[in-house]
Symmetry: D2
Subunit: 340 residues, 4 copies
Amino acid sequence: MLHPLRIAAVGLGRLGRLHAENLAFHILGVELAAVCSVVLDEVLEARKALGNPAGFMKFDEMLARCPLDAVVLTTPSSLHAGQIEAALNAGLHVFCEKPLATTMAECERAATAVARHPHRVFMLGFMRRYDPSYVFAKQQIDAGAIGRPILFRGYSVDPLSAIEDALKYAPHSAGQFLDMAVHDIDLARWLLKSEPREVYATGGCYAYEEFAKYGDGDNVAALMPFENGAMAFFFAGRTAPHGYNIETEIIGTKAALRINAVPARNRVEILDAGGVRQTCDQHFIDRFGDAYRNELVEFVACIRKERQPEITVADGVAATRIALAATEAFREGGVVGIRD
Amino acid sequence: MLHPLRIAAVGLGRLGRLHAENLAFHILGVELAAVCSVVLDEVLEARKALGNPAGFMKFDEMLARCPLDAVVLTTPSSLHAGQIEAALNAGLHVFCEKPLATTMAECERAATAVARHPHRVFMLGFMRRYDPSYVFAKQQIDAGAIGRPILFRGYSVDPLSAIEDALKYAPHSAGQFLDMAVHDIDLARWLLKSEPREVYATGGCYAYEEFAKYGDGDNVAALMPFENGAMAFFFAGRTAPHGYNIETEIIGTKAALRINAVPARNRVEILDAGGVRQTCDQHFIDRFGDAYRNELVEFVACIRKERQPEITVADGVAATRIALAATEAFREGGVVGIRD
Amino acid sequence: MLHPLRIAAVGLGRLGRLHAENLAFHILGVELAAVCSVVLDEVLEARKALGNPAGFMKFDEMLARCPLDAVVLTTPSSLHAGQIEAALNAGLHVFCEKPLATTMAECERAATAVARHPHRVFMLGFMRRYDPSYVFAKQQIDAGAIGRPILFRGYSVDPLSAIEDALKYAPHSAGQFLDMAVHDIDLARWLLKSEPREVYATGGCYAYEEFAKYGDGDNVAALMPFENGAMAFFFAGRTAPHGYNIETEIIGTKAALRINAVPARNRVEILDAGGVRQTCDQHFIDRFGDAYRNELVEFVACIRKERQPEITVADGVAATRIALAATEAFREGGVVGIRD
Amino acid sequence: MLHPLRIAAVGLGRLGRLHAENLAFHILGVELAAVCSVVLDEVLEARKALGNPAGFMKFDEMLARCPLDAVVLTTPSSLHAGQIEAALNAGLHVFCEKPLATTMAECERAATAVARHPHRVFMLGFMRRYDPSYVFAKQQIDAGAIGRPILFRGYSVDPLSAIEDALKYAPHSAGQFLDMAVHDIDLARWLLKSEPREVYATGGCYAYEEFAKYGDGDNVAALMPFENGAMAFFFAGRTAPHGYNIETEIIGTKAALRINAVPARNRVEILDAGGVRQTCDQHFIDRFGDAYRNELVEFVACIRKERQPEITVADGVAATRIALAATEAFREGGVVGIRD
């Protein structure tokens, strides 16, 4: 039997806590060696519930004092680059939640750090690539089933039922293109195998004027032509009436694929006075619970087998660059070119 | 141009009125020559709205006095046999609503009359055979697409939204097997190309005890093995929560077909706090409007081309025999054999 | 009984022939008085099949010699303005297929003619407004069910199975925004109750390079912000793998509506080795047969009741203006303003 | 931290192996202490892959020599009663796969053993009760959402793609009512909260005559009235054309619930020349992977908290009694009473 990998979960918000739980119980060959959060209660709760890992409130102190093999970063995006750098310099493998960073300078800083440590595994949390439905779609596309891709359409809309959380988080958000659409941007690049040339964006505050204060809308959209001629349409928002609405479509010359057109919570249809309906997922963990686990399994496999994951730091740099261009197009109007 | 066929609409309830309107306006080569109903107001309204055809309150008087080529009977089932006989004897073609009759004696009377007039067209109103979805299913089955048929499942359930009408009609109903399931019985015979051997039935009054007074339930079911080994399951009722629920499934060794699993009112999906839903048809005319027209088009074509329709009087006799056996099984318990 | 309206069907291609047949047989109070086409065989066939109306190969000759109340124009778009003018000057009511015209000058010519004849009914063939599903959606929206509209998404894609026809027609096409997306442009204006401010478009030839010769693509897309803040995304094409794909979505702050996400040919699901599927409509008449009839019923009702239809010539002018702006954006790149 | 429960996985066929893997890696507070199979290779493979638990080929030897807290039995049904008895007598908690046993005598033997050990947890593997969709349905029903239950419909049909396995297994099968429909029988009792009074059954060999040798069919059906008046229709088979087809419907006076009408493999729709389709699950583990884990989590929770699970040995006795009655009705014809 192999020595278990000692991994720290850094950041213990809802998603960070899930990663910590997966590391503690559901990923083979792993030991949740430490948890780290600036919120003391989160540290205490996690230690109690997750088998008593070491607890820290300061990232640097954890690196200095706790023997670790890897870190899983679910911290605010503005901290990513520095923490990636520090962890790699400390000899650790790094899994980092998306987005890589919210400025190009920070992205470059992270990319440079990763380039300097080619023998450390670096992986970014574009978990959709590890969701069974997207894996299936990717296989179909790679096998030529859809022919030449024409249009990618990606919707990422948080449920109206979660609007209170979204409003609280608004001041810390980098805007919807970076927060929400960045997943679709990654999917589009992955599925279209090409890069966008330029972007036109629009949107606004349709129900919650508060987002305007931060240069954001509650719903935004963008259209981008890609180098290979394919088109991509992105819609991101905070007010999906029915649930956590992650819908993706890719239309090709031979076939089209549609993923999650109905974000059904389960396999039950209800037939009543309102008609025939399915109730819907209300939270990203309901939809992507398996994907969040699968990506950590892959991260661990990469460490064990000394290989790099499919998702590289360059994917993170590109996604942020594109999301920033879309944000600029949304704020300033007009068409914004996307250059490497 | 051909001389228009002079057709009388007999019975002007909701379905009779629809037949009359189709004859008046929507079937080529036809003239609505007369309307007949024991309800004076119905006669007056139809004359006014449908181009002033002759109006009668007595069937025999109409036959005696009005020059006609054919009659369309939408009268109480207990009158069918006598009216079929009288109309055929008067030299007319006859279209008769289902069921043919509610007793075997009356069925035989009708069948004998039809047999005596081989040059008159006789057609029974099993309109589902003229609905585009059932036509498609029949073609698939006849082409061998489903392989050998294993199970026919037929649901015919009136919507809860129409329960008031059902309760009013209850004293005149011949029971749900004859009133509702008779359509499914015809479909099963048509699609399975075989006859049932015996029947076991059950059911009861789940919401409306009133139906028990008439030896009926508000929801009933029956299971029948067929001569060719196939099985048929029938469910008929009055309380479908979501709408007019005519669902049919035929499972074969190579494929299965499911018809109208969601009785959608239109092509709209509503995404709201309740989930993702489609609203449903609430009335048989919403579902089968086209089929009701198509069957009259076929009736007229048979007259013009001097051929008999696919649906014969024998289909009506068989459907009533089977429905009566199911009714007996429901009332008496145990298994009831079905013999020619 | 009223004197039947004498209506001429002008243009006898597939849709023109359908209008002629509806006028001949399926619209009450109407007489198909004449048919007119530059193709002699079409005139002869229509006369024979549709009850021997008068036949013409020249529009002006028909106006001069045939007593008429109205014309239904299904002619090439470049002829619309002149024919509208001539027919109105001849005292006739006019129903004209979309688009109103393919240049703004021609649109103005038509609008001026219509303005000069306020007592003649003028109606444009945006038949989707008369499709039961769109009628339902409009009612929901007008009743406030979706809250404030955020995003309109309209797909209008001809089936790959009809590509041969599309290639033949390509030299005469005004491009996909005017040919296909014009219906979605009308829907967006109708459902959003606002006008677009500007347009960004992209697309190309993904499977059939031939369309490039005509400054067109085989698939194109456009994104438009509207005056009221709502967004509209349009996708039009010629290569839908599964069928005639007219899908519309309107997302609001309270609910979203999705129309025809699966363009099912009928109510049958097929369960076989490939999974569970529905087969799809392959032709616009399969999808919109009822709407084509309903719009003519409305046209006739407007004439009878001396009122104007909801769809005015201004709707035709606006739709062409917007489609032309989208075409320019597609051809030239960048953002194109849309001004009255 | 609690001492981990030492559990043995007995029987290492496909499902037994899954239970073993869940015990080894995915259930907190558990140690896979031993594996036991009469197939040496299975023991060796499991020991190697699952963390080197003790390995046995004889159940009694394992009980005698290996310190254990509980066993999970996935052995042939004919061995269940004896193994349950032996394990309980050895002081162990017992989880046993369905069916409890294939004869009433064996059922009684198991029930007696369980009754004699009230402080040992005994649980039967009706895993569907732990599937999220069924849990949701149960909650809806218990909350009164469907009103009074009218009809339960349960389909359990193995996929045609697995027919080779089914044919190999046929000589050991207790027939489809015990092998397949027993799950639906349990669901019906659970959801209807009542017991069936009698059963009528039919069916046959539609594609694979081999099953007749064992008094079985490749597809069978049964109809049962329940004490509370509700009806239940069961369909079990081996030849579902599209996939592993576990579909359940429960129709009430206020609403109906339909579970898994499309056994979709994932959230992808494919739009191609065949129409719009979803591919389907081909294996019970694809469909019920989570439920198999959840039930073991519950088993462990019962042991820890010293309570009994919802599923009792009486549920196993009842399900076998009903399945045997259905089998008799299928083989002998007529109606078979079901008595306690």
